[in-house]
């Protein structure tokens, strides 16, 4: 029986091929491996790298610190004017890192907007394949919102969907093997901002539902609730836990990919690692962040 390959499998195989070729071209052959003729024989040899692992990690994760240690002039993409501009705003200590982060956030936003416009342009009654995909995501998240918050609060679905898609694209965009493509969630500021925003939305919703005094009496009434300080600390630790979870997962995955692929001289291994840490962990963590934000809202407005 000739089994027909599913389109997902085709995309998967295509992705692995493209990723392998791109990893070879972008990292492998011009940094660590070299093809050439040696004593009349065709060889594939390993160049002695002048970086050690510590310097490489510093270059990847603290790029300003790297330029400060080596004393090189930073080679910014495009012109030097951009670097001067960012140095004037953010100071010398974080100029390049901030530039990279802002550029990646901009790219992610452009991708999301582009996909949204592309889907919106041809909405059909008999939907095409991408439309089916996005309708499935929307329906599943809407079902979660209805299960958690009840039917009268379906209007939270766009926020939840935006949170999920943004974090997911942020986690996955680091898989594209172009130099300088980092995950924006690797920087602590992005998950921290999202976490603060989620907890703020929780409290604004509770204020709207229960009224000002009805919500605040849980925190500032020492007679009814003698341990109200612990509640306030608990609210703050919500932000820390939800944002450090995302940040640590993405950063740890990136460091493991860098270390292992430097151990095997960038040959084939990074592809599988990218699939695990980029796709699998990225999807799970985006889902967990979204579900936790939803659950916080649900717990706060339940009584």
């Amino acid at each position: 029986m000739a089994k027909k390959k599913s389109p997902i499998l085709k995309i998967f195989i295509l992705f692995i091929l493209i990723e392998t070729v791109l990893v070879f071209v972008s990292n492998g052959f011009n940094k660590e491996l070299q093809i050439g003729f040696d004593n009349g024989k065709f060889v594939l040899r390993n160049i002695q790298s002048h970086y050690d692992l510590q310097e490489k990690i510093t270059e990847e994760f603290q790029i300003d610190e790297h330029y400060r240690q080596t004393g090189e002039t930073p080679e910014i993409y495009g012109s030097n004017k951009t670097y001067e501009f960012f140095k004037n705003i953010f100071g010398k200590a974080t100029a390049i890192g901030t530039f990279q982060l802002l550029r990646m956030l901009f790219i992610v936003d452009i991708m999301l907007l582009f996909i949204a416009l592309l889907i919106k342009k041809k909405l059909l009654k008999r939907p095409s394949q991408p439309q089916i995909l996005f309708e499935m995501i929307y329906t599943a998240l809407k079902q979660f919102v209805i299960e958690t918050l009840g039917k009268e609060r379906v209007h939270f679905t766009p926020y939840i969907m935006t949170l999920f898609l943004f974090i997911w694209v942020c986690n996955v965009v680091g898989m594209i093997p172009i130099p300088g493509f980092i995950e924006p969630t690797r920087n602590l500021n992005v998950p921290l901002g999202l976490g603060v925003f989620a907890v703020a939305i929780v409290h604004i919703t509770a204020l709207k539902v229960k009224g000002v005094w009805g919500h605040l009496k849980n925190y500032v009434n020492p007679v009814k609730n003698p341990l109200f300080l612990l509640d306030i600390i608990g609210e703050l630790s919500k932000i820390v836990s939800i944002s450090f979870r995302l940040f640590g997962n993405v950063l740890g995955g990136a460091i493991i990919i860098l270390v292992v692929s430097s151990l095997v001289s960038y040959v084939v291994f990074p592809v599988g690692l990218n699939l695990f840490f980029g796709l699998f962990v990225g999807t799970i963590q985006a889902f967990v962040f979204t579900m936790l934000a939803l659950t916080y809202i649900g717990v706060e407005i339940s009584e």
């Binding site: 836990s241 979870r245 940040f247 640590g248 740890g252 799970i284 967990v288 936790l292």
Partner: protein
């Protein structure tokens, strides 16, 4: 890396040792917890195989949440390594 005093060397060595111990001890709890969750999910799937997808989803989310203490120790270990 060249020309560091003895005190700086001791501090660096203590930070590296602390990072290793932090990772080792911090990985104990999530390992035990995730294994427990996976075992219980196996029992659940064996008992009612028609709910397998729901159980798998809940298991993955629970594992990701219980992994977070290990992630905190990873962050602390990275801070110890790179900021001293």
């Amino acid at each position: 890396m060249d020309n560091i005093t003895l005190a700086q060397g001791i501090v660096k060595a203590a930070a590296l040792l602390g990072a290793g111990m932090c990772m080792g001890m911090g990985a104990l709890g999530p390992g035990v917890g995730e294994g427990f969750v996976a075992g219980k999910a196996c029992e659940g799937i064996a008992r009612s195989p028609e709910n397998a997808s729901l159980i798998t989803r809940t298991m993955l989310v629970g594992q990701a949440v219980s992994e977070s203490t290990g992630i905190y120790s990873l962050v602390i270990a990275l801070l110890l390594i790179f900021s001293t």
